[in-house]
């Protein structure tokens, strides 16, 4: 583990420099805690403030500190506000405004970064015709796999994300998703999703696509096991085209979880050779006490044309003071040991 005393000192100094921000954040968190003491009131920590069925407001934030041979930073990674609700009929809406990488101090290069412009993370409506047929229209999370559907720090068990969730497909879709249960199997759900325009707000997205079509299926075996698959293709604004196939499985018990996702892609760049990309990760979680979790994850990524091959192991520990308040620490082991790093984070859903 490469954390020198100077790195640690830099972290402490950075923390002190940012203490005013921290005090504000912690005060916000504590005020949330105080408001959340009574159960099932209008405000509950992690469930937002519900004025009525048509209006609930909430949000989340996360901070991160990372240290390794080539990195050493502290940052306020995410700050977001959510507003959603439904009417008595079959319509509901959702809006999420986010500040991503709001503040970052890079001790390695002695630089500070601020991104104060918020962007629209999600903005969509749902019309539910029945359990078998619903339509979601607008900017939304692409319904692929497990990680992509709960991507925020506080809801996941590790500070870092697998490569699969960042590089293999567009995390967001600006278009429509037709979804529901299938009439042939009450435990099989489907999503048929389509995009035919540019992203509603392409400020902070992983892949800038203007065409995307795909189908996801998931079977819930009602015994803790779920299996799913996705098949689709997308075109980037620069005209590169990618086809992908994904397979996911998970098993959840009170104390244990097992999650695996694998994605196989073929990218046809507008200029250059075809790239075949493979990514697979396996993660296990063990909740050895109600608030404490140990996590292990291994991931393999390979892009044959670009000669990129990454193998990453993650060992992590998570402590949840309450479920929506998460403290995490992890150590990443990379095939190239120069990339090994320590990551910690503090995140709250409010």
């Amino acid at each position: 583990m490469h954390i020198s005393s100077s790195d640690f000192a830099a972290g402490v100094i950075g923390f002190l420099i940012l203490r005013r921000h921290f005090i504000l954040i912690l005060l916000s968190a504590l005020s949330c805690l105080n408001l959340a003491v009574a159960e099932e009131t209008q405000y509950q920590l992690g469930m937002g403030y519900e004025l009525n069925d048509a209006f609930t407001v909430g949000g989340y934030f996360s901070t991160e500190y990372g240290s390794g041979k080539e990195i050493n930073f502290f940052g306020v990674d995410d700050l977001a506000f959510l507003v959603y609700g439904e009417n008595d009929a079959n319509f509901s809406y959702f809006f999420e405004l986010e500040w991503s990488e709001l503040y970052k101090i890079d001790y390695e290069n002695n630089e500070e970064e601020q991104h104060t412009r918020p962007f629209i993370e999600r903005l969509y409506g749902d019309y539910k015709y029945s359990d078998y047929l619903s339509v979601r229209f607008g900017k939304q999370i692409t319904p692929i796999g497990y990680w992509n559907l709960q991507p925020i720090n506080v809801l996941r068990e590790t500070t870092s994300n697998p490569i699969l969730s960042r590089r293999m497909f567009p995390k967001f879709l600006t278009g429509i998703d037709i979804y529901g249960y299938t009439p042939i199997d009450e435990n099989l759900t489907y999503h048929l999703y389509l995009q035919g325009t540019k992203d509603l707000d392409n400020e902070r997205i992983n892949i800038d696509a203007d065409r995307h079509v795909g189908l996801s299926l998931e079977k819930d075996f009602q015994n803790g096991w779920k299996l799913g698959t996705s098949l689709g293709n997308f075109r980037e604004v620069n005209k590169d085209k990618t086809r992908y196939f994904q397979f996911n499985a998970r098993f959840d018990q009170y104390r244990y979880s097992f999650i695996t996702e694998s994605n196989f892609s073929r990218k046809d760049p507008d200029i250059g050779k075809v790239e075949r990309i493979v990514d697979i990760y396996v993660q296990t979680e063990y909740r050895f006490r109600p608030k404490h979790t140990l996590i292990g994850r291994v991931e393999y990524f390979h892009n044959d044309e670009l000669g990129l091959k990454e193998r990453i192991g993650v060992l992590a520990y998570g402590y949840r003071i309450r479920y929506p308040i998460s403290l995490k620490i992890e150590y990443q082991l990379h095939a190239d040991s120069n990339d090994n790093q320590l990551l910690t984070s503090f995140s709250v859903l409010f």
Partner: protein
């Protein structure tokens, strides 16, 4: 000895309350009998309909015995797990079911609100209600 008493109490609760509680809708509703999985999905808001009828699940506020039995028998989850689910669902724009402070107010809510579905002790069911599931 304590664990033996604990085992006995669990056994007693399971048998003593079996079939004592029911899930009900308004007697004018077209909703028919529902199996345990369907009721579970409705109260966890994974489903919202029976046919084309949109349903509104109503939960009992607090730590009442009947709510605990409903969570154990029908939802098959601990309260802690249920709360974690609602926290995850908050990020997806899904709120927990509406709550009522007493069984009497659940009965009134189900009688009066179109599409409402709730749970009650069997002996509280009247002519304005229809049983769709027993537990």
């Amino acid at each position: 000895m304590r664990w033996l008493i604990g085992v006995f109490l669990v056994w007693y609760v399971q048998f003593a309350f079996a079939g004592e509680f029911v899930v009900v809708v308004s007697s004018s509703s077209k909703v028919g009998l529902l199996d345990s999985n369907k009721v579970r999905d409705l109260f966890l808001k994974k489903r919202s309909f029976s046919g084309k009828q949109k349903l509104i699940p109503v939960n009992l506020l607090g730590d009442n015995e009947i709510r605990a039995e409903f969570e154990r028998s029908v939802l098959r989850m601990r309260r802690e797990e249920i709360n974690h689910l609602w926290i995850k669902d908050h990020f997806l724009g899904i709120s927990p079911p509406v709550t009522q402070a007493s069984l009497a107010s659940i009965r009134l809510f189900v009688e009066r609100v179109d599409g409402a579905i709730g749970y009650l002790p069997k002996d509280m069911v009247n002519d304005n209600l229809k049983i769709v599931h027993e537990f």
